[in-house]
Symmetry: C2
DNA sequence: CCCTCACGATACGAATTATATATGAATAAC
DNA sequence: GTTATTCATATATAATTCGTATCGTGAGGG
């Protein structure tokens, strides 16, 4: 039995006339008769009673008709489902992100993506960059907002935007009134940095830039989140370098001062499996890129 | 899309290897690859990710797999249903019957048929013979226990059993002690007969036999059921002729006396549409004939 | 009563389609 | 580097569907 037989059967059952049914099916009558006979042979029962003048459904045919219809409908649904999933209109995508992505790019992207693909379930998971690399490779997440650099040939990385690094100093600090500063002025300070485990690239680069500027920073303490870093700065325990976007945590007692010259690169990137060319990923990346562009302009 | 494609897809999805799947399907690998490609083209999406070394399901394939399985199951159910209905194992049969069939043949037959075909819904309807003829022709009932004769070329009739006609007289009747009587002895009696509308053949035959016996019966009244007839006989309003099976309505005040010589034919028959050669009818007739034989023997 | 029409079944050739064989390309394992 | 494995492609063959022509059978009309 093939779907063809079901379509033929339904046509004959509705027309109760082989000739008209054949016409409707864009074919001639003899093959239609044959196909119906073939179906009846397979079912082991007659579907029609041919009374040499009119055709009518047998009890078996009457029972089979709704089944045949529902089978065709079911098949259509299955086809559309496969197509929808293939086109990324329905499904699931697991998104990893570093904490600092929640300041701007993540909520924008997720909101936009959900509006465009309401049938895709978006699973969100906050993870530091190294864990995201693992999770991507394991397939636990499909895409991740990360802080470069990462090293894996199986992953693709794309920079979304670059942020200026700015100095964060307590309001009571003697230099808090200055419009701009340079790293080389800061040799004697105590430092509060974002923990290396959260963003190793940033940490290492700050150390490298300080070294270039001729000093070895005196690191008072490290914290896992920028919010905590700023809290500690506010308490007067030291100064820090943060992305300008961290300024959304506005505080009365902290002042942000732009840095002159070579500053640490502060990039937000998105990463995904190189082997994954699914529509979901493609579409999610498109939305993300668009949001990144908009944000950079603003 | 045809069922073939679904079977092929499931095989590949389960083996995740075109070669082994082809082997399982008793075919070679190239046509299997082609058929899968054809299916993917129709669905507008890839079902597998071929990574040149291993095959895995795409998201669309993962979504489509349970649908494909359920479609095949659904098709199997539909086939079995058609076959069951065609073979008369499930379905519905509407049975008409005259009141006097409830004395013996009807309950026996229905009980036996239900035991043999528990999935066939048996619809029962009490109707006098002429109404059954109409209902059979209209298709409102499929088979009927009737009292012959009936006249219709579109119906088939088969006699199930013949009953002796016996005389029913009140206990106080002067002849109530006699072992046997003949119609010709009964010229002067008052008669209570089953209404002509209930069983015209019987009524007409009694009149004919009486005429043969040399008298014209004085019909006091007619009733629609034998039970009522016997009640009136018991009340002493007259005597009657009834099938011996009507003796199940045993009453203290009525005596049944066998008739000698030519007695009215008392037949129970079964009728069905000549055009109807459905399995249900065939099987119901078989059961009915078997019950009729058993009963006659007993 | 014969003729014609309508309708489904059958017979057979043509076209389409699925399948098999042979082969290629790419990758992983030794 | 070589071999084995695996899926894709090209071409040939087999199967099957489909179209054309025709038959058989009732029903309706003249």
């Amino acid at each position: 039995m093939e779907f063809r037989h079901l379509e033929y059967f339904i046509a004959v059952a509705e027309e109760l006339n082989f000739g008209r049914a054949a016409q409707r099916l864009q074919m001639t009558q003899p093959p239609l008769s044959q196909q119906i006979q073939q179906l009846e042979r397979e079912l082991g029962t007659a579907l029609f009673i041919r009374t040499q003048r009119r055709v009518e459904l047998s009890p078996a045919g009457r029972a089979f008709l709704p089944e045949a219809r529902s089978l065709l409908k079911h098949a259509e649904r299955a086809k559309r489902l496969a197509n929808d999933v293939g086109a990324g209109r329905v499904g699931r995508i697991a998104v990893g992100f570093v904490g600092s992505a929640t300041y701007d790019i993540l909520p924008l992207t997720i909101r936009e993506y959900r509006a465009a693909y309401p049938e895709v379930y978006v699973h969100l998971r906050e993870l530091p960059t190294p864990s995201q690399v693992e999770s991507l490779l394991k397939g636990e997440i499909d895409v991740g907002f990360i802080r470069p650099p990462i090293a894996s040939h199986d992953l693709r990385v794309e920079t979304l935007y670059r942020d200026r690094a700015v100095l964060a100093v307590p309001k009571m600090h003697p230099s808090s009134h200055r419009a701009v500063m340079r790293l080389s002025d800061l040799g004697g300070e105590s430092w509060v940095l974002l923990a290396r485990s959260t963003w190793s690239g940033f940490y290492d680069e700050i150390l490298a830039k300080c070294s270039d500027a001729g000093f070895d920073p005196n690191i008072e303490l490290t914290a896992a989140e920028f919010q905590t870093v700023l809290g500690v700065v506010a308490a007067g325990l030291g100064i820090s370098i943060v992305p300008s976007s961290a300024a959304i945590f506005k505080r009365e007692d902290v002042v942000f001062i732009p840095l002159e010259g070579e500053v640490p690169t502060i990039e937000m990137s998105i990463a995904w499996r190189a082997a994954d060319d699914s529509a979901q990923i493609r579409q999610f990346l498109d939305v993300t890129r668009k949001m990144a562009r908009n944000q950079q302009g603003g």
